[in-house]
């Protein structure tokens, strides 16, 4: 009897894609995402293998160590589905081949997923939402939630389909131009937006007053000592409108002087300091606590 070719339908693949969203659910220190990975593939395993021996073997091989960025697991799942399908139809694909594809893809893909999703898309959408939210605008959280999930869901579905259709050929494509462009484009946009965030949202304001500056002749309004006539008053008002100071002395603050260099300079320096400390392996949490203590100190000393 000729066996019919068993194929995974679109709805099988959708069911796998849906379950892949729970990939990290039982994340553990031994084999990390392994149970979640098996959980995602179960609909396909059930469809492809009917005997108990085959199912047992399939479950075992998909409970091996696995860990990558949760969204870029989707193209790997796609490729695995293609390989399992061929295997179920009699192609000589052994366990090592399947495990090899999984391990071979998870490293490089995580190297793309982490910077693109965690360090570009989420900070940008988060900052967009948060800057609206700080004004109490409900659109902030809604925009963040909707945009993020549209991007994420389309990504996991289309890359899984891409992996499924490309099969093992995808492994060669990984070093190809498109993914490189995406990563580079994302890091350009990310660096640009980060600079904007540093400038706009790291807030350091000195409360220190410096000795007042004496203004040059002509930079302030000279008030006559006696009574003021209508014409003189008009002159004084127009001088004020054109921006002349009312007093001889201009108030002078440390913050004002810093801002005249470029606003946000101290925030930039603090960010650079934090980057340097991170490179020296200082824990971010230690830094955060340190900054709070520093803030309290500055407040007590009336410097900020």
């Amino acid at each position: 009897m000729m066996a019919e070719k068993i194929e995974l339908t679109r709805s099988d693949r959708m069911s796998v894609a849906w379950r892949s969203q729970f990939l990290q659910g039982s994340w553990n220190y031994e084999r990390m995402q392994n149970v979640g990975w098996a959980y995602a593939l179960i609909p396909a395993i059930k469809k492809l293998y009917t005997t108990k021996e085959d199912r047992t073997a399939a479950l075992k091989r998909h409970l091996e160590f696995f860990n990558t960025h949760p969204y870029v697991a989707s193209p790997i799942i796609g490729v695995t589905l293609a390989l399992e399908e061929e295997r179920a139809n009699g192609a000589p694909i052994d366990d090592t081949a399947i495990q090899g594809v999984k391990i071979g893809m998870m490293g490089p893909l995580a190297g793309i997923g982490d910077p693109v999703f965690w360090f570009t898309v989420r900070p940008i959408l988060g900052a967009l939402g948060a800057s609206l939210a700080l004004g109490g605008n409900i659109l902030g959280p809604i925009l963040f939630f909707v945009l993020w999930n549209v991007i994420r869901m389309s990504f996991i579905w289309y890359t899984q389909e891409f992996g499924y259709k490309a099969g093992s050929a995808i492994t060669q494509d990984l070093s190809g131009g498109l993914l490189k462009d995406i990563t580079k484009g994302a890091s350009i946009l990310g660096m640009f937006i980060l600079a904007v965030l540093v400038e706009r949202w790291v807030s350091i304001k000195f409360a220190v007053e410096l000795p007042a500056k004496k203004l040059a002749e002509g930079a302030y309004i000279k008030f006559p000592n006696g009574a003021v006539s209508g014409g003189k008053l008009q002159e004084i008002l127009s001088q004020q409108a054109s921006g002349l100071s009312l007093t001889k002395m201009a108030p002078n603050t440390l913050q004002g002087n810093l801002d005249s260099l470029i606003p946000g300079l101290m925030g930039l320096l603090l960010t650079f300091l934090a980057m340097w400390l991170l490179k020296k392996k200082v824990s971010p949490i230690v830094m955060i606590i340190g900054i709070f203590i520093f803030g309290i100190l500055m407040r007590v000393l009336h410097i900020m």
Partner: protein, 269 residues
Amino acid sequence: MSIIAMILVVIIAFFAGMEGILDEFQIHQPLVSATLIGLVTGHLTAGIVLGGSLQMIALGWANIGAAVAPDIALASVASAIIMVKGNNFSTSGIGVAVASAIPLAVAGLFLTMIVRTISVGLTHGADAAAKEGKYQTIERLHLVGILLQGLRIAIPAALLIAVPASAVQNALGAMPDWLTGGMTIGGGMVVAVGYALVINMMATREVWPFFAIGFALAAVSQLTLIALGAIGVALALIYLNLSKMGGNGGGGSNGGGSGDPVGDILNQY
């Protein structure tokens, strides 16, 4: 807080806990969870503002490989509860709630590690089930894992709700002005750490000029974040196209000696 609000807050906490590990829908991000808690307790605007403030701090927090980031799920849920119970929705009230989130985020780390260790047991259960071909057992074990992650936040949230509101208010009221003021100052600066994390991850010699352009343009306060985003996208597209026109020699990977961030990440896997 009414009984219904309390139950809803615990449910939100449960979802935030599950999402804290799944990292898919982003319900655990402060922008979403603090807003939801604000919504069900009747303090929507304060919840949104708290969520926005915490989100700014947590922008660069991410679970990379086996490393666990500070627990933003516990931090945002608990600080939202503290804000609601403290009954102070002014800038300083929100500032104190933000500051209280930091130690909570650290405490949450240990809870995460405990659950991730317990889940090792689930893996061995799944191994046994696989030998028998029992896929339903594997599915159930996986769901237990997710459930545990939900409880990781729901239980502390319920405990915090059980503390009488007056106790929370007294504790917050007992804080002197220099402490709350200082925390607000610290809160303004602390976001730099999150940005530094992200910058260290992305920076190469090639992309630093874009940082400079961004910083200079951001000083023009008339440009909104959306306008700046449009400029950033345009710059990235222009750069990619131009570097291709320059032929293979020029545009390639000349990140140079400044270190390859992608390579560093790969080493962790």
